[in-house]
């Protein structure tokens, strides 16, 4: 079986020294060097922490009732999907968590067959400024929220 080698031919460490960096910066650099994000499934499955991240995403998807298992109709092609792995860093450079996200390969979808309309409005900056002025003028408090996994909530 063919294995892609991830090891560089001429490692940077041969030519660079980290001696003069501050301890925190050094910590950040070593974390960069020691943790790599897997690009293939087999790579990820071999690592416990990535497997955990995948299980967590899987659990969220199942809890959300994202899909039913059905038989494929003749002549239809399923949309393919893949895993995307990212490391989330904190502001100081230390690792916050390992994240695995299942994404669909939307580029294989065909307009009119797999999807119809895609337009979704987003707020215009003009509007944001109007709201900010009104908040300033009338002394309203402004609150901000962030929706986690927003797109998983949509029903199709």
């Amino acid at each position: 079986m063919y294995h892609q080698t991830t090891k560089p031919l001429y490692p940077l460490a041969n030519y660079l020294s980290f001696k003069h960096f501050s301890p925190t910066h050094k910590a950040f650099l070593t974390s960069l060097n020691t943790t790599t994000t897997p690009t293939t499934l087999s790579e990820a499955l071999g690592d416990k922490k990535w497997k955990q991240a995948m299980d967590a995403e899987m659990e969220a998807l199942e809890k959300n009732g994202t899909w039913d298992l059905v038989n494929l109709l003749n002549g239809k092609k399923p949309v393919r999907c893949k895993w995307v792995y990212t490391i989330k860093y904190k502001a100081d450079g230390s690792i916050e968590r390992y994240k695995a996200r299942l994404v669909a390969k939307g580029f294989t979808q065909i307009y009119g067959v797999d999807y119809m309309e895609t337009f979704a409005p987003v707020a215009k900056m003009n509007r944001v400024r109007v709201i900010l002025y009104l908040a300033a003028n009338y002394g309203w408090n402004l609150q901000q929220f962030d929706v986690k996994n927003a797109f998983l909530h949509g029903e199709i």
């Binding site: 494929l72 003028n137 962030d146 927003a150 909530h153």
Partner: protein
């Protein structure tokens, strides 16, 4: 969708997952999300504003108002009904997984600073990042974003530059003009050459960066003025583009004395007289005012009945008031009737403003340093420069 790689591969070969909820990456995901969000908001008694579909408003019985603005997964909530706001965040948390970030501080790359004077929005971090990326951190700042005498054309003789890099740089500058009306004209000019950037265009774009270096902390200040009156300034240059002789419209609107919206845009038809271009600019300015009025009405905010539109071209104003079939204006009939109709209903009045006091000047041509600075200060822009 096919079965997940790494999960459940033991089942029969023709089994697939039929999606009931959206996934990241699907074409219809954004629409599905927004549809779901709208449904939830409606069930909570909110109304979608007609002026903007991403603004949701609820008027409570105690005459309070709560509004919510959504940008994909970022949400801003404000209003004078704190009870309703608490209730809203509880309901949202029940329906979705919500992270409460507290008081609005940072939204889409724009810093939001609260002070006694009001709310101040700079994009200092964004500018610092931009300077780093372009390697202009140590460059010498300039006073204006564009050379007043510069006329940019296609510049066929000049050497071409990396298109992708140019487009990325200009794209960033466009985003920056959300809080920086002072660079709006310069940015609109360099963005006209996205398809075939040449050395001279890149230099013009980098000059904007150089200008930003001198004023990274500049942004708009929203001051408490107690009223919500609308005003607009419009202006246009005449046949300013040397590529196709089209003119550039500039307008800016003020709400309660604070600058809220502005635009610098090349008109898409060629005009035959300066009155005609001003006239088109007036029509565009009126559209913007009407839209702001719709939003204010949705929010039931009282504003002065009369909306003022300032223009520095007397003939454009007189054409607006008299629908005489002037030989030179017969081809702009639609705009003419549109403006006349709005004037007749008493919604808008047009006023003359001398050229040197027209604030929209900054949005349609390059200005010299002194004039530029005086307009910038009149626009209500503040500078809180703190060396990073």
């Amino acid at each position: 969708m096919e079965l997940l790689p790494g999960y459940g591969e033991k089942t029969a070969t023709n089994t697939i997952c039929k999606l009931k909820k959206a996934l990241y990456g699907l074409k219809q995901s954004p629409r599905a999300w927004f549809g779901r969000f709208t449904k939830v908001m409606m069930s909570l008694g909110f109304k979608q504003s007609q002026g903007d579909h991403t603004l949701f408003i609820k008027h409570s019985k105690s005459r309070g108002v709560t509004m919510l603005l959504v940008y994909v997964d970022d949400i801003i909530v404000t209003g004078d009904d704190e009870e309703e706001q608490k209730l809203l965040s509880q309901h949202l948390a029940k329906n979705f997984e919500i992270k409460t970030l507290g008081k609005l501080k940072y939204f889409l790359g724009i810093e939001v600073a609260h002070s006694k004077k009001g709310i101040f929005i700079p994009q200092q971090k964004y500018i610092t990042d931009l300077l780093k990326e372009t390697g202009k951190t140590t460059c010498k700042p300039v006073n204006t974003p564009i050379d007043p005498n510069l006329k940019l054309g296609n510049a066929k003789k000049y050497t071409a530059v990396d298109k992708e890099m140019y487009q990325r740089l200009v794209g960033k500058l466009i985003y920056l003009s959300h809080t920086r009306p002072d660079v709006a004209f310069a940015v609109s000019l360099v963005s006209q050459f996205m398809h075939q950037p040449k050395e001279i265009h890149l230099q013009a774009a980098l000059r904007i960066v150089q200008y930003l270096k001198g004023t990274p902390g500049r942004g708009i200040l929203f001051e408490r003025n107690g009223n919500a009156n609308l005003e607009a300034y419009t202006n246009a240059d005449y046949a300013g583009s040397i590529v196709d002789r089209r003119s550039t419209t500039g307008y800016c609107t003020f709400l309660g004395g604070n600058l809220v919206t502005w635009r610098s845009k090349k008109q898409h038809v060629v005009a035959r007289s300066s009155a005609e271009v001003e006239f088109r600019a007036m029509a565009q300015g009126i559209c913007e005012l009407l839209w702001l009025k719709i939003i204010l009405e949705d929010l039931r905010i009282k504003s002065d009945d009369l909306t003022r539109l300032y223009c520095d071209n007397k003939s454009a104003i007189s054409i607006a008031h008299n629908l005489v079939q002037h030989d030179r204006t017969k081809h702009i009939e639609v705009d003419r009737h549109f403006i006349k109709e709005k004037l007749d209903t008493g919604l808008i009045c047009t006023l003359y403003v001398p050229s040197q006091d027209n604030l929209a000047d900054i949005l349609m041509k390059g200005l010299n340093s002194n004039y530029f600075q005086s307009i910038v200060s009149k626009l209500g822009m503040e500078n809180t420069y703190s060396p990073a």
